[in-house]
């Protein structure tokens, strides 16, 4: 059984297809692995992980972030306000996986309504990092990342609004891909910030990420902002980076990055050069304002999206002894956690009369400038690269009292979200955390122009093959 769990998704699909392993045996092995969850990665575990029918993911159990609606299966978005909520329909991304033959292994824990970078904002308790249970897995797709990194799922899907796939993937030593905005339908994905939210895969390797992306991408009549990826997605096979130009933001030299993370980043740049890639600096002067713009735009959209939780049509109702307004206020005050309230307050303030132009209007202009910086960079370069996160996984509770320090975890991932472009995080090595301790995974982020997912996957694959990152939690296997 242990051998089955070592297979990548692509390998398992091939073996199941060839009849070398039985579909039920494979999914049963993963059900057992998931049942041993000591990381609080799962909120719900299913019985039909084997899926049905043929397809590119036939027989593959997938861990699904609890932000995706699943018909008849409790979907909470990590919030008390949706406790017991059983959606009437299944999200398009999950439906597409099922159509490709995959099954739902379970629903994974997450920061409430995807708001957080540590998974400590879940109403159902924090998720623990498989590399060190005293540390966070990152967030908001922390359960999905910990499940894959901790050997509790062969692959997972999550959502990324400002880094919520890439950052936890980096902190758990796995691959995380945020596709171009519009690549995958958002239908049935509980909304946080609608102009930024995007679904994507969290996997062991780049090939598996391509496999899941290929199954999920596409236009969906239920999401008019979905367009899909023209030509689809193929398994990457490129081995060289010859002739490809990689830009490093010039501002990176001054950014606050943990020394160990910077070392792995520099070593990875050297690796790119060894593979024939060119590295040069490019100014991205507005990227540093990404956090400011993001923490206006995302809370503003969230304050509007979360207005629907009022205790009337579904979800939890509290109060009701007084009038209607009293019921609304009691429901929302008891149903939402601290961070969600903070962001609703921030967003409502930024959109309120007299402040709209100064905050929301200005942030949207910064967004234009950030997108323009990337467009200028991509006129000369194929990719922009950065560390995924300024630090390795930090300790539980370390940043919970300082919201701004927590927001800074998203420093390198937010600009791509604002520009709507695809970015992937791949594990690039291990580094000692600041203050010492066992070495932890470091993610390397590669961003590409909109809808250039295939080129992005090819480059990430070439780099991955050369890096040969095989370290797993519990053993300091190099990297």
């Amino acid at each position: 059984m242990a051998e089955l769990l070592k297979l990548t998704v692509a390998e398992a699909v091939a073996k199941i297809g060839a009849g070398e392993i039985a579909r039920e045996e494979y999914s049963e092995a993963w059900r057992e692995a998931a049942a041993g969850d000591e990381l609080n990665a799962y909120l719900w575990r299913g019985e039909d992980g084997a899926g049905k029918g043929g397809g590119s993911l036939a027989g593959i159990p997938v861990a699904v972030k609890d932000l995706f609606c699943t018909e008849g299966v409790e979907t909470t978005a990590g919030s008390r306000i949706l406790e017991g909520h059983r959606p009437l329909y299944t999200a398009t991304a999950v439906r597409r996986l099922a159509e490709a033959g995959a099954g739902v292994l379970g629903k994974t824990n997450m920061d409430e309504f995807a708001m957080g970078s540590s998974n400590e904002n879940s109403a159902y308790g924090p998720v623990r990092n498989p590399w060190d249970p005293e540390r966070v897995p990152g967030g908001s797709s922390g359960g999905s990342a910990a499940a894959v990194g901790g050997g509790l799922a062969p692959c997972a899907i999550g959502t990324d609004t400002g880094g919520s796939i890439r950052q936890p993937a980096a902190l758990c030593g796995i691959v995380g891909l945020k596709p171009t905005y519009g690549a995958i339908s958002r239908y049935g994905m509980i909304a946080f910030a609608s102009s930024l939210d995007q679904c994507g895969p969290l996997t062991r390797d780049v090939t598996d990420a391509a496999l899941l992306l290929g199954a999920m991408q596409g236009r969906d009549p239920c999401d008019s902002t979905s367009v899909g990826i023209e030509g689809g997605v193929r398994a990457p096979s490129q081995e060289s980076l010859q002739g490809l130009r990689f830009a490093v933001p010039a501002e990176l030299a001054h950014d606050a990055i943990e020394p160990g993370v910077r070392t792995v980043f520099d070593e990875t740049l050297a690796r790119i050069e060894a593979l024939g890639g060119e590295i040069a600096e490019v100014p991205l002067p507005h990227a540093e304002h990404g956090i400011s713009a993001y923490y206006v735009i995302a809370p503003a959209e969230a304050s509007s999206n979360l207005a629907r939780y009022d205790g009337v049509r579904y979800g939890k109702r509290s109060g009701g002894e007084g009038d209607l307004i009293e019921m609304y206020e009691t429901t929302r005050s008891e149903g939402f956690g601290e961070e969600v309230k903070r962001r609703i307050m921030l967003g409502t303030y930024a959109l309120s009369s007299g402040y709209y132009e100064a905050y929301y209007g200005q942030a949207q202009k910064v967004r234009t400038k950030i997108a323009a910086d990337y467009a200028a960079a991509f006129a000369q370069f194929d990719f922009v690269v950065t560390p995924t996160s300024p630090s390795v996984a930090f300790r539980l509770g370390e940043k919970t009292d300082d919201p701004l320090a927590m927001y800074m975890n998203d420093f390198f991932t937010v600009p791509m979200s604002l520009a709507g472009i695809p970015a992937i995080s791949i594990p690039a090595g291990l580094a000692e955390p600041e203050g010492g301790g066992p070495r932890l995974p470091v993610g390397f982020q590669i961003a590409a122009p909109a809808f250039a997912e295939q080129r992005l996957l090819e480059a990430a694959y070439a780099l991955e093959q050369s890096l040969g990152f095989e370290a797993r939690p519990g053993g300091d296997g190099g990297g």
Binding site: T225, V312, R313, E329, K341, L346, A358, G361, K365, P403
Partner: protein, 95 residues
Amino acid sequence: MIEKEQVLHVAKLARLQLSDEEVEKMVGELSGILEHVDLISQLELDGVEPTSHVVALENVLRADEPRPSWPREAVLEQAPDPADGAFGVPSPQAE
């Protein structure tokens, strides 16, 4: 940066009831966040078009085909207070 009265006003707009302790905390935390966010107010961005959406899409159309909506019973099963085939709520006016 942000005063207690503003926090209370915004909470009312957002239909949130905050305890005295929460209000106190919110004043400090929101002020800290807004101080950082305010860095962008110093940028010279006159004449820059705001971006509300990154993918250039206009007038996305679909076939106008009738399809059944959700069965009423299934929808009401999720409701906190299904009443007479509708969503029950407390009276809008306190008695």
